[in-house]
């Protein structure tokens, strides 16, 4: 029972982390139709900036300042790279962000080296929140979850309850009309891109200390957040939240399952045959945990088509 509880909690926290990164991505897509390949790079930059600032400012100012720096970079990219190619179409914008992701990864390697850097959870935050059947639960995991939930609430309220939110939403649905009403739509786009980047940067600053901060962290996450955003329905904040949680939890549960296709045959008495076939039959689900999101995505497409 405790095992399942831990698996669910771990999955939820991991899902919330995924949400932090994908929130900005789905917002940007919803507004501008741009699937931003460099978004996971913002996550990585957030971690590296926080790592750089930490010795100068301490941990808390670092995780506040680092997203601001990432936002500034996001704004520059939107203003000088994306806007320039906007009229060539969305595929073109996607390719530009793809190139930017490559450049950012290589620049990080240039400045910080190929190895993981010494960015760690500060000692005053690394303690166990609670202990259950001998397993400590780190406080910092709960902290990451709380940041994600606070972020979700803040964005949601901002979009639905404020004037700024109304302008932003109108710029998404009817950009021409919003412009005609005197709103500066390019400015709104730039702002959203910056905020999206900052959210990813915040996720990186917070999670980089817990996981590792290394030059491959963007690559590792990039494809996964894409899947989250697509499964959640492009542009939908709530959808991204649900998809993140779904992927986080299935991932976590799958690890605990030592189940293979051969076991199904075992139930009907064909276990030995399946074992002798080998290959697909004897592969355990747990060794596929990280690939499950893709299964989910394909399954999602399949179901939607049927509906």
């Amino acid at each position: 029972m405790d095992q399942i509880f831990f698996a669910l909690l771990n999955g939820t926290i991991y899902g919330l982390l995924l949400f932090m990164v994908s929130a900005g991505l789905t917002l940007i897509f919803g507004m501008m139709g741009v699937l931003n390949f460099a978004h996971a790079s913002f996550y990585m930059l957030g971690a590296y900036f926080a790592y750089t600032l930490q010795p100068l400012t301490g941990f808390w100012p670092a995780i506040v300042l680092s997203p601001l720096l990432v936002a500034a970079i996001g704004v520059v990219i939107e203003r000088y790279a994306l806007r320039r190619v906007h009229h060539f179409g969305h595929a073109h914008e996607l390719l530009v962000t793809f190139g930017i992701a490559v450049v950012i990864a290589e620049l990080v390697k240039l400045f910080y080296g190929n190895y993981p850097v010494e960015y760690r959870v500060p000692t005053e935050l690394s303690f166990a929140a609670f202990t259950l059947s001998g397993i400590d639960y780190p406080f910092y995991r709960l902290f990451m979850g709380a940041v994600a939930v606070a972020m979700f609430a803040a964005i949601y309220l901002l979009l639905t309850r404020t004037r700024v939110g109304i302008v932003v939403r109108s710029a998404i649905y009817r950009p021409a009309m919003a412009e005609a009403l005197g709103h500066n739509v390019p400015l709104v786009f730039m702002g959203v891109f910056g905020i999206g980047a900052a959210l990813a940067g915040l996720a990186g600053a917070v999670a980089g200390a817990f996981y590792t901060t290394n030059p491959n962290m963007a690559l590792d996450l990039a494809v996964l957040v894409f899947v989250v955003v697509v499964v959640g329905g492009l542009g939908s904040l709530g959808g991204a939240m649900l998809a993140s949680l779904l992927i986080g939890i299935t991932n976590s549960l799958a690890v605990g399952v030592n189940f293979s296709l051969g076991d199904i045959f075992g139930i009907v008495g064909l276990g030995e045959w399946a074992g002798s076939v080998g290959g697909v039959m004897t592969m355990r689900l747990s060794s596929f945990a990280a690939t499950l999101p893709f299964f989910l995505m394909l399954l999602g497409f399949w179901c939607v088509r049927r509906a």
Partner: protein
């Protein structure tokens, strides 16, 4: 228009003469360039002509490669087919896998299509290491080119001609395909799917067919790769392979016929030369890609075709008085940028930083010169070259824009 057949003939002659023109190390690079060119052409049939952006073409390339290795190893290494015909095995498997994958992925369009191709390729890549019999595990599957038809196929020259024959044949077929009604329909798929459907075409079947043909030629490219390196490894199924072909194609220009091939050949050559010279060649590759995407949106070849095809209105042709300073500005800026990056790379390296932590700032030898990282001049010179070059380009562009305004 009379020029074109002549140019093609010339290009083929040069390609045929290459083994006599270059060193054996370069000949090897030439084989890689040919394979990359064919792969990019196959990719661009789908992406450029039919307008379907695929993120998972590594799958069909890899499947073709593995099919060929298995065909080579069939009958105790005697081979399923004589060595020169082995690429057919790769093409066949590419076609079959393309039909299956294409059937599922072309049910959606746009970003969703791209994500399905990505997911399929990722699934295959994740599955491959588990299936040791088919994909050989981490070490891959090794094979041996058997002599056939009086050729030993032991030397790079023989492999080069074999590769060249198949690549030229495939590109010729792709060109013919473009002229057929099917090729025209592919363009329709890109430009206006709804209208095609309205005209009574089965858009899904059409998409699947184009996808399958693209996968078939990708498989052929994979097969040539296997023949060349006499092995296949599941590393060929990685996302990286899918992205490289995408970068190559777009740098060349996906909408002009030979654009992707030229782009792929150029970038493969670039990688071959620079990767032994500098450690950060991937950074240069990324920068080139971003710059091409931003300033030459049709790709290098696409932009050249556009400039020289005479489609522009009078007075909009090439002006040497503008082109030369522009090129000079780019060259100066590029030199400054390269020096800056290379200096940074050396100063930021682990060993140098260890020295610098001890308070020493030893000089760096680079490009036959010694550089003092401690002195501001070292940094100011490349920086000012970069700034100067950019200023020159911007200045020329501004004047050109003003002139255009004045004539308009």
């Amino acid at each position: 228009m009379k020029l074109r057949p002549f140019l093609i003939l010339l290009a083929v002659m040069v390609l045929l003469a290459i083994p006599w023109l270059v060193s054996s190390s370069m000949l090897n690079a030439a084989i890689q360039m040919l394979i990359a060119a064919l792969f990019a052409m196959a990719f661009s049939l789908l992406c450029g002509q039919a307008g379907m952006l695929s993120f998972g073409h590594a799958a069909y390339f890899g499947l073709g490669a593995f099919a060929t290795v298995h065909a080579m190893n069939a009958f105790n290494g005697e081979g399923l087919l004589p060595t020169p015909l082995l690429p057919l095995a790769g093409a066949a498997v590419g076609l079959v896998s393309g039909v299956v994958a294409g059937y599922f992925s072309t049910k959606r369009t746009g970003v969703y299509f791209a994500m399905i191709t990505l997911a399929l390729a990722e699934l295959l890549h994740a599955l491959a290491p588990h299936l040791k019999g088919t994909f050989g595990g981490e070490a891959g599957i090794s094979s041996f080119r058997m002599p056939a038809w009086g050729f030993g196929f032991g030397t790079a020259i023989e492999v080069y001609y074999l590769t060249l024959f198949w690549v030229l044949l495939a590109i010729g077929l792709l060109y013919l395909l473009m002229l057929t009604p099917l090729g025209r329909l592919a363009l329709g798929l890109r430009e206006n799917q709804r209208r095609l459907r309205f005209l009574g075409y089965n858009v899904h079947a059409l998409g699947t067919l184009i996808f399958a043909i693209s996968a078939m030629f990708s498989g052929l490219a994979g097969a040539l790769q296997s023949l060349n390196i006499e092995a296949a490894n599941y590393a060929e199924l990685e996302t990286h392979v899918s992205t490289v072909v995408l970068l190559n194609s777009f740098i060349g220009g996906v909408r002009v016929f030979l654009g992707p091939a030229i782009g792929a050949a150029l970038m493969t050559f670039f990688g071959h030369v620079t990767s032994d010279v500098t450690r950060v060649w991937l950074l240069y590759q990324g920068i080139i890609f971003v710059l091409v995407m931003m300033f030459l949106p049709r790709g290098i070849v696409g932009e050249l075709v556009e400039r020289f095809s005479g489609k522009r209105p009078a007075g909009e042709g090439i002006r040497l008085s503008e082109m030369l300073p522009r090129l000079a500005g780019i060259a100066v800026a590029a030199l400054g940028g390269v020096v800056l990056i290379e200096l940074l790379q050396r100063v930021m390296s682990r060993d140098y930083r260890a020295l610098a932590a001890g308070g020493q700032w030893p000089e760096i030898t680079m490009m036959g010169l010694s550089w003092q990282p401690g002195s501001p001049l070292t940094w100011l010179v490349p920086l000012s070259a970069l700034a100067l070059g950019l200023a020159l380009v911007l200045g020329v562009n501004r004047r050109a824009a003003a002139r255009r305004e004045a004539t308009a």
